[in-house]
Amino acid sequence: MGKLQLEHTLKGHKGRIWGIAWHVNGVIFASCGEDKTIRIWGVSDNVWTTKTILSDGHQRTIREISWSPCGQYLASASFDATTAIWSKTSGEFECNATLEGHENEVKSVSWSNLGGLLATCSRDKSVWIWEVVGDNEFDCAAVLNSHTQDVKRVVWHPHKELLASASYDNTIMMYSEGACDWDCVATLSSHTSTVWGIDFDSTGDRLVSCSDDKTLKIWRSYKPDEEECFKENTWKLICTISGLHTRAIYDVSWCKITGLIATACGDDAVRILKEDESSTKNEPTFSLETAEDKAHMQDVNAVKWNPKVSGQLLSCSDDGTIKIWKFVE
């Protein structure tokens, strides 16, 4: 059994903290929340401090932030119905573009693996794909209306231009660019309530999802030529993890280095799951490695594994704190 060690507790935001995001270099991260600001944190001599505060970009709560793969840009999704793009080209972070079009709250934002595309989703039930056409210039490439309810999260595939979205309508959808347009290519149904979080594993062949129904689900992609005789590419549910979480699960992060899964739950806990050694390809099994029951004083809203430092985990909460954890075997 492993263990989570608390390394740092950081304060700065006023009120609820909704989102956290590691920079690709793993030594900087950003956070956002209901105080309408973004904080960029850095470390020196093992002390984490706010390096920059980005304010005045949004009129309402900032729900999520996402770094571009090149590390030069930061995108922020806000309840004010806009997405802002920040960059450091002049030395200081500045808001250089504001993407408008959604009818109401933008819930999530994500950059594609090569950084050429940006996806946003909203309570208006739509998913938008934006093409980066120049420095601070974005064109809308698609408006996808497949979901029937509030869309909570968008996440790109780690290697391909395949987009996944999760919704209040209990489903997950996948989109890719066909001959002429972007299309919904798969609908993943099984959760019995809102799907809050999704994350791919390092290969991109599997996806984990977390829900208000208190379960985690693992989905696998099958190609037509595989032994299972599928005619087309399809995503299939291969594992449901229930009984571990006592309230809604708001976020899930699948570590690309270690393969560990971390969850953020409304019961204040952070949990770490590991795939069993006896696990099989078509029916994998996962076990709880450790649970930090009182990780925060209130709901945990997000968890993110460090992309460079193995076992380092970020969490943030309604209690207004950010915590940095180290997972040790």
Partner: protein, 156 residues
């Protein structure tokens, strides 16, 4: 706010007696966990959005339908809309939620749900009230917050 009142003649019930405050409750040194009666006292005087009556007088909230687990930081409130198609159900539930969020210590997890079997869109309303992201977004709406504040404010 609706132009027409949906339930023209609701049943009106009497108010319950004021709580008798015991000596122990006044003693700061005695640990006094939250109970159903205290939660009831916090929400019984919330005003109905369409009638000049309180939720208690309309039997929308009742002490029996409140469950408190102080040790587990849990408060569960069932509320009963006056009619099964009440379009005010979400607003009433939101008012109860906001009142409890403002009054109780942050450690409490507050669940507000429609009394099972008493509303046509019970599941949809419950799901919306349980979605803290949508509740947070709703509370950033100035107009809605004003309406909720009116419901919550005690009449002189």
């Amino acid at each position: 706010m609706p132009t027409e009142i949906e339930n023209i003649n609701p049943n009106v019930y009497g108010k319950c007696k004021e709580r008798i405050i015991t000596e122990n409750e006044e003693d700061e040194n005695v640990v006094d966990p939250f109970d159903a009666r205290e939660i009831f006292d916090l929400i019984r005087n919330i005003n109905d959005p369409e009638h000049p009556l309180t939720l208690e007088q309309l039997h929308v909230v009742q002490e029996d339908l409140i469950n408190v687990q102080d040790k587990n930081n849990e408060v569960h409130v069932n509320f009963t809309p006056t009619i099964p198609h009440c379009s005010m159900a979400t607003l009433i539930g939101l008012s109860i939620r906001v009142k409890l969020l403002r009054s109780l210590p942050a450690r409490f997890k507050v669940t507000v749900e429609i009394t099972p079997g008493t509303h046509a869109s019970e599941q949809a309303v419950n799901k919306q009230l349980a979605d803290k992201e949508r509740v947070a977004a709703a509370l950033e709406n100035k107009h809605l917050t004003e309406v909720i504040n009116q419901c919550i404010s005690m009449k002189a």
